[in-house]
Every structure is written in C-alpha cells, then in structure tokens.
C-alpha cells in the first residue's frame, strides 16, 4: 500500500453500486458486503432492481442498484444516502441523484459517459454532474472502467460482451483497495460461484486484481476508508442472510424440530419467489415443493398437505394473497395448521412489484368472507425472518390455525448478519395430535377445553376417520350443521382459540428512552429506520420511546398498558394508516397520530427524525 494515502476512520459508510440491470451490480454489492461482514463489520444491504430483466441498455428503466451500509457499531438500515456511489452509466447517475450524500464521492465509468449514453439518459449537456447540480460538493473520480477491463482481458479470447460484463469486478477490486480490504475473500466467493465456468472465473479474478492494483496507482488525493470491527456483535458464528432465505430456513428448522415433512405449495411471484427457490433446493432434507398452476393451487395443495399431516406452507406477495383469501378461510374453518408467508410489495393490483410497502396488513387481518380470524405476525429484519417463520410454524401447529407472516420486499431481499442458531435451542413445538385413548371417543370438532384447540388426527390413523370441510360443523358431533346457536358457538370458539395465542407470545418491550413523552409505534420491516432515527435523536439529547410490533394478531397482552403510559403516540408505517386503524379498534381513548409514506421505498432516517422532532416540539 502506498504510504502517500490518507486514512480516514469511519464509524459508518454507505456504498451504492448502480448500473444497467445486466452490469452485475447485485453480485458486486453482495460480494463487497460479505467481505466486510467477514472482517467484522455490521452490515445491512438493500438491492433495488427494476422488474424488467433486461430493459433497454443505458435507459433509466433498466437501472439496478445495490446499497450496503457498513459499520463498526450497530447498523440497522442500508442507509439513507450513499457516501460512495459507484456508477456505471449516466442513467444510473440520474436515477440515484437524490440518494447521494452532499459531500460524497462518485466513482464513475467515464467510458460510459459518452454522448450516446448521456442522450439515452436524457441529459442535454455534456456535463451531467453540473446538470444535476452535483459538481460543487461532490468529489468525482473518473475511471476508464470499460477500457481498463478490456485491457486487462486482452490475453483472453473473449468477445466484447463478455469483457464488458467483467467491469463490475474491476470496480469491486478498486473498492476493496479503497477500503483496505484484501481481495482474498472476494476470490474465494468467485471460486464458489463460478466453479463450473473456469474461463469466467479466471477472467473475473484477473480483472478484480487489476482493479485493486489500479487503486494503488491513481492519484494520492483519494482517501482510504477504515471501518473497524464492530464491538457490538455477540461472539458466535455468523453469515449474511437475506430475509427470504431466512424465512425458508425457519420453516425447515420447524420441520426438523417436529419431524414433520415440510410441504410448500407455491406460485412464482416477485418478491417472494426466492422462498420457493430456496426450498426447492432442499430435497436433501426431504422438503417437498410443488410449483403450482396458480396462487390458489399454491395454497390449496398446502391445505391438502396439512390435512394429510405435513407442516404445510405457501408463500406469496399481495396479489397472490388476494387470490388465496377463500382458501385461507377454508383453513380457518377446517382448523388446519398452515403458514402463509406474504412478502409485501407495492400495490394495489400489480402496483410496483419490486418495491417495498406495508400495505397488506388489513388484507391479512380481514381480507376474507365471514368471521375468519387468523394469527398475523411480522418480521422486522432480514435475519429475524428465520425466527418468525419458525414461530409462525409453531403457532400454526400448536393452535391448529393458519398463520400469516408478513415480511416485505425490503427485508425479504435485503441481507443482514445472522448468528447461526442451534436447533436444540429453538423453542419446543408440541402438536395436539390425538392420543390412543381418544379412539372412538372424539369428533373432528373435539377441542382441548383449556386453549380451545381441536385435536389433530392424520389420515391413515386407525380409528379416527373423520370428515372435515368448509361447511359449519356441530360443536359436539362434528357433523354439518346450520343450527343458529351452534354457528354462534363455533364462531366464538374459533375466535377464542386465536385470542389464546397471546398466552404464547412475548410481551411488548419498549426500546429507546422508556421515560420519553413521545411513543413511536412501528411494525415489521421499518424497525431499522425507526430505531436509527431514535438513537440519532438520543445523541442530540432528545428522548423518544419505541414500541415495535412483531405480533399483530393477537397483540401482546401488555399492549394497552404500554400505550397508555405515553402522552403522545405516533404510528409510523409504509401505508396510509392500516396499523393505526387496527390499534384504534383495540385500544380505546388514545389519540393515535400517524406518519405514513406510500412511495414504494423504505423510510429514511432523516424524515423520521424530522417527524419525531416536530412531535417533540408540539
């Protein structure tokens, strides 16, 4: 390393990689995140890609980005704005201009900033930086990424396209240099990824090394960023995991814990498909996946599998959840265990399929015909999707009920550090199977008087043959019934059973400054942004409390008690006020304020801080 270099120690740095959707930005970002995590940084990542697989090259519609936030202290979000922005073409610059920090650094491929590309991105002058009013505050580092990559690969017999595709590795090499990171880890990841393509591996490695070396040769005015190891991380074995993968593995863990075969009925839908793909890989652990003809078959095959005694699940996103509603009602009526993972995206209708939102909450709670209570959970970070998928399975099996787990595009696609769990340390799951003594004595509707959960007899068991179904059943005899009083009794029984889940779920814990006058309420995937805003305000001497919900129906038992302790309560969510509406129906006498955003994007820490400050000043 050249000793001319400046070292700058940073507690937090946000880097955004952006280019055409074919430029390999997701891979570059993922590799850099993993390298940083291995070296002891906290990380949070956010891939932001268009739904078009290959939109016309160089256009605004085809821009794909990946943002990673590194820290030597707790990192909760991928960051609002990028300190360093690696940009492959003018379109990527234009799309991301709002997400660059005022005094940030832009590293750009000057080869791609020619007239043709500038025009494609809609620039009217030959200085896009000036046009976007960036020149004054931002440090620009032009790099001939395309031609340097070509030069680096001249000894190989590659066509132009293949060479152009490797320029992301040149950028990665350079970034590794700028962060004082050895490229050994990157080479290791590449070896795994391109095991079966030795030529590509060779080329990528060569370009990576040349990119790194290039860093040493450029102007000394560039600083090297030093992000130290985080001291906040509990000792243990870690990996980096996306929310979707974590959710899939949570189901696997529940299946391994109970010994029940895991069955997933599914239909591909953005941004939930990863869960189906992940589980389809797991034939080794006997996971059965059926890629169905539609969303309805996705859930109904799962209901069939549940009836037959499997741990059954289906996964989807908003429009798919709408299609599944009638079948969820069947699972409610038949009182069968079922996990439904809904990775929320922007709606209504097809909406913005790759963008994040929390707009399916009321659909999850109420989107069915009849009195049809289900348990609703929400994961809040990529890594805790594992925990909540496990808990969703546990509740479904122990209470013989469908459970909807809400995640979203932001935590589903984003990654965070995950401390590897031990199966033996996960909570026990006790399934209400029928016992031998019950033979001949019980009906399909027979329930445990304590928690109102019905007993589960699996087809094939001798002496328990029964008929289940979507028609109302007699409370005692299990036969179909249209008796008015009986229907009321059954409606109440199903509701009481779901209410009883509150016995299992943990109490709500207030984070931030418990003694504040302002209570912020959040749920699901917004936790990182909200707690970051609150912690940042704390540094400025302001006190704000946070009650963040992972259990939504039923609510934790102490919900009312906690909310009533605060003078002012503001519910923050990425919809027009769905959780606030729900809370108003559950907590009387509280004037809930709302902070809402429906832009298909996560909150920014900055906007939340401004919002909280406003309430503190009032």
């Amino acid at each position: 390393m050249s000793d001319k270099m400046n070292f700058i120690e940073k507690e937090h740095v946000v880097i955004r990689f952006s280019g055409d959707s074919g430029d390999g930005m997701q891979l570059t970002g993922t590799l850099f995140s993993n390298i940083s995590a291995i070296l002891g940084n906290e990380i949070s990542t956010f891939p932001d890609y268009p739904s078009e697989i290959r939109a016309p090259q160089g256009t605004l519609g085809g821009v794909s980005g990946f943002q990673v936030h590194l820290g030597s202290s707790r990192v909760y979000t991928p960051g609002d704005e990028a300190d360093i922005f690696v940009v492959m073409n003018p379109a990527a610059l234009k799309v991301n201009v709002k997400g660059i920090k005022k005094n940030g650094i832009i590293i750009f491929d000057i080869d791609s900033f020619d007239d043709k590309h500038l025009e494609k991105a809609g620039f009217t002058t030959d200085n896009p930086f000036e046009e976007l009013k960036l020149s004054e505050t931002i440090q620009l580092i032009p790099v001939k990424l395309s031609s340097l990559t070509k030069e680096s690969l001249k000894e190989f017999d590659f066509d132009f396209k293949t060479m152009a595709r490797s320029k992301n590795m040149f950028a990665l090499g350079l970034i590794c240099f700028l962060f004082n990171r050895s490229i050994d880890h990157a080479t290791h990841f590449l070896e795994t990824k391109f095991k079966k393509k030795p030529d590509i591996l060779k080329a990528n490695t060569k370009v990576l090394v040349d990119g790194f070396n290039y860093g040493q040769n450029i102007d000394a005015s560039i600083s090297i960023f030093q992000v130290n190891k985080s001291q906040c991380i509990k000792p243990g074995t870690y990996t980096s995991i996306s929310g979707n993968k974590a959710a899939a593995w949570g189901l696997i863990a529940a299946s391994q814990k109970t010994g029940l075969q895991l069955f997933l009925g599914s239909y591909p839908i953005t941004p939930a498909t990863d869960i189906l793909q992940e589980l389809s890989e797991r034939k080794d652990l006997g996971v059965i996946t059926v890629q169905c003809e539609d969303e309805i078959a996705g859930i109904t095959t799962a209901i069939g599998a549940s009836f037959a005694g499997n741990l059954a699940a289906t996964n989807t996103s908003g429009p798919g959840l709408a299609l599944k509603s009638e079948a969820i009602g069947l699972a409610v009526m038949a009182e069968l265990p079922l996990v439904i993972i809904n990775v929320m995206r922007s709606g209504p209708s097809t909406g913005m399929p790759t963008k994040t939102e929390q707009t399916d909450l009321l659909q999850a709670l109420y989107g069915r015909n009849g009195e049809s209570p289900v348990v609703v959970l929400a994961a809040s970070t990529p890594d805790n999707c594992f925990h909540y998928a496990y808990m969703a399975s546990k509740i479904a099996l122990e209470y013989m009920t469908p459970v909807i787990l809400l995640t979203d595009a932001f935590i589903g696609n984003g990654s965070s550090l995950w401390k590897l769990p031990k199966l033996s340390e996960l909570p026990e799951i006790s399934i209400p199977f029928v016992s031998a003594e019950m033979k001949g004595k019980i009906k399909v509707t027979s329930r445990n008087d304590g928690n109102m959960v019905r007993y589960w007899a699996i087809p094939g068991m001798e002496g328990f043959a029964h008929r289940n179904g979507g028609l109302e059943k007699d409370y005692d005899k299990g036969a179909i019934s249209t008796d008015p009083a009986n229907h009321q009794k059954m409606v109440t029984a199903r509701q009481t059973k779901v209410n009883n889940v509150s016995e299992l779920i943990p109490e709500l814990v207030v984070e931030g400054s418990k003694d504040a006058s302002l209570l912020v309420i959040g749920w699901g995937g917004t936790h990182g942004h909200i707690i970051s805003a609150i912690n940042s305000l704390k540094k400025e001497g302001e006190k704000v409390a946070l009650a963040h919900f992972n259990y939504i129906n039923p609510l934790p038992k102490n919900t009312v008690e906690i909310i009533k302790q605060y003078k002012k309560v503001v519910v923050c969510e990425l919809n027009s006020g769905q959780f606030a509406t729900f809370l108003r129906s559950k907590v009387e006498g509280v004037a809930f304020c709302q902070y809402n955003k429906v832009e298909g994007q996560p909150f920014t820490v900055l906007e939340l801080k401004e919002c909280f400050k406003k309430y503190l000043e009032e």
């Binding site: 993993n34 080794d284 069939g304 005694g309 087809p459 979507g470």
Partner: protein, 334 residues
C-alpha cells in the same frame, strides 16, 4: 372372502341427495369397489370441491375433506404428495371440475398425480338449482339460458387426453357392474385416473343421458370396452367397430362379408391416444357411446417422481440434518 363389505365404507350420515338422483348409484358403486379392492377405510382420503356430488365424502366412512369450489384437484394433489401411502379419491362435478376448477383439473392430469377422479357429469348445475354447465349440450334451455345455450360444451375425454391424461374411463350411474369395474381399474392405475360418471339429475336435467340409459336400447347404444377384447356390442352381439380410413365405422358382423376377425381389438394401454380419443368421442345416433376403461397407459406418477428425486438426492448428499445445512454456508467467527 372379502376383508370388507360396502357397508364398511358407509358413514352414519343421512344421504341428502334427491330421491332418484344418479349420485346414489355412483356412491354405491364406489363403496362396492372399495370393498372389492380390499383397502382399509383408514387409508383412504376422499376429497371434494363444491356441488351436489361434492357432498359425497360426508357419506363415506373414510377420511374425507369437503373443500371449496373447484379446488378439489389441487387439494387432492397436496394430500397425495404429502402422504403417497393414502389412496386418494377426488369427487367432482361438471361445474366444479370443468368450470371453476378447470385449471386445477388439467394440471393434475398433466402432472399425472396418483389420484382417482370421479367426475359426476349431469350436464347441469344442480346445487344452485338449474343453470347450464360447461358440459350442457348446445341449445339446451336452462334458467340462465332461457333461449338455449349458445356455448360449445367441453367433452371431458377430449380435455383429459388433451392434458396428456394416462387414464380415462366412463360408466353410467345405473350400470353398477361397469361402474364398479372402472373404479377398481382407476384405483389400480398409477397416475391421474379420470372416470366420467354419467349421472342423471332428476330435478334439473332429467334424462340428460336418456338416449343411452333406457334399458330397452342400452345394449345397442353403448359399447363396454374391455382391454384385449373385440369391440362388439348390440343386443344380438353382432355389431362391431372397424377403422375406415381415418375414422371409426360401425359394422354388422355377417353382413357385407364382415366377420368377427375384422372388428378392432381394444388396447387401452397403447400410448398413442388417437384411437382412444376417437372411441371416447363417439356419439349417437350413428355410434354407440363408449363405456369402460378407454385409456390406461403406464407412466411414472407425479408423486412417485417427486419422491424418487428426493431419494436420489438423499443418497448422495452430505446434508442430513439442519446442522449439516448450516455447515454449507459461508460463515465466519466474530
């Protein structure tokens, strides 16, 4: 000596179909078939959707699941794939199976899931009281087609074979022997077995199959196909089917120099579905209606394929437990 009798498969529920409904005969045949197969009622799951016929599981002393409209095929798929040891029957009607459930039907047939589908075809919506269905004959007047339907009906055999079906059989509700025989064959067949049961709806479409059902003409108007046997029918057992160019033709044995040897021999196991489709689509008055097992082709079933693949992977994998799975990750110590 049979292990079970039909009675062992009857539940204690009062059967609520209209008196004279064809479903009574069909369920009797099913219970008889199950007894003849000798399968333990606890090992049977009977799955249905919505409609008159879909009430059937309640009347069976087996495991049963009366689900939602049109989804029986998908639910039955889930049951069978989750637990391939079960014998799975799907009970459905022409509306449930071919209108709202059409997509699930063609895909379960395409996948060749090992389920036995009893498609009760009465060419009408009964439970909603008399609207036309996807199999109602064109021009037929119903409550929603007071001037006659203008729709072309589905022919279940064509749809089954078009979906690459490996088994198709047909029987008439009142013909108990053929019904029992085809149900036994369906149960024994590996893959999706589609049995079209021609049932009468005495209230809303009485006599839909009357041309065929009248005892007087039945033998002349239907041919019960049996694998390996010549295609001979008629009261006098003197009519037969032959190929004439690309089409089938009815001939009379002993006339125009036709002998028994000229008549086609039924081969339900032939992979090429051309003749099966021709047989299944024969219509009166020029042709008899084909009954019995028309097509029964041996192919790997979906559930079998699923578990074969799992077994193959499990033979070579190092990942046997959740801990092994965690060990495949790129991890680091902090």
């Amino acid at each position: 000596m049979l292990l079970y009798t039909a009675k062992d498969f009857k539940s204690d529920q009062y059967v609520r179909w209209c008196p004279g409904c064809g479903d009574h005969g069909a369920i009797g045949s099913l219970q008889k078939a199950m007894a003849e197969i000798g399968v333990d009622p606890n090992q049977i799951a009977v799955i249905s959707g919505i409609g008159c016929s879909s009430r059937l599981p309640y009347y069976m002393n087996t495991y049963g699941f009366h689900t939602i409209h049109g989804r029986g095929a998908a639910i039955a798929t889930g049951v069978k794939v989750a637990n391939p040891d079960l014998m799975v029957w799907q009970i459905t009607g022409d509306g449930d199976c071919l209108a709202i459930g059409g997509n699930h039907f063609i895909h379960s047939v395409r996948r060749n899931v090992d389920i036995n589908v009893l498609l009760f075809n009465n060419e009408i919506y009964g439970l909603t009281k008399g609207q036309y269905s996807p199999t109602t004959k064109k021009g037929f007047a119903t409550k929603t087609s007071p001037f006659g339907t203008v729709e072309r009906p589905f022919r279940p055999a064509e749809l089954t074979i078009g979906s690459r079906g490996t088994f198709f059989a047909r029987a008439l509700d009142v013909d108990i022997r053929t019904s029992v025989d085809v149900m036994i064959a369906a149960a024994k067949h590996k893959g999706t077995s589609v049995v079209e049961m021609l049932v009468n709806c005495i209230i809303f479409n009485d006599g839909a199959h009357g041309w065929l059902a009248s005892k007087e003409h039945r033998e002349d108007r239907m041919i019960v196909l049996k694998h390996g046997e010549p295609m001979i029918f008629g009261k006098e057992k003197n009519k037969g089917l032959v190929m004439d160019g690309f089409t089938l033709k009815v001939v009379t044995i002993g006339e125009n120099g036709i002998s028994k040897e000229d008549v086609l021999i039924h081969d339900c196991t032939c992979h090429d579905s051309t003749i099966h489709q021709k047989l299944a689509l024969m219509e009166g008055p020029d042709f008899p209606i084909a009954m019995g097992v028309i097509r029964s082709v041996d192919e790997e079933s979906y559930d079998e394929a699923v578990y074969n693949q799992v077994a193959q992977i499990q033979k070579v994998t190092k990942v046997k437990t959740f801990e092994d799975l965690l060990a495949t990750l790129d991890t680091w110590e902090m």
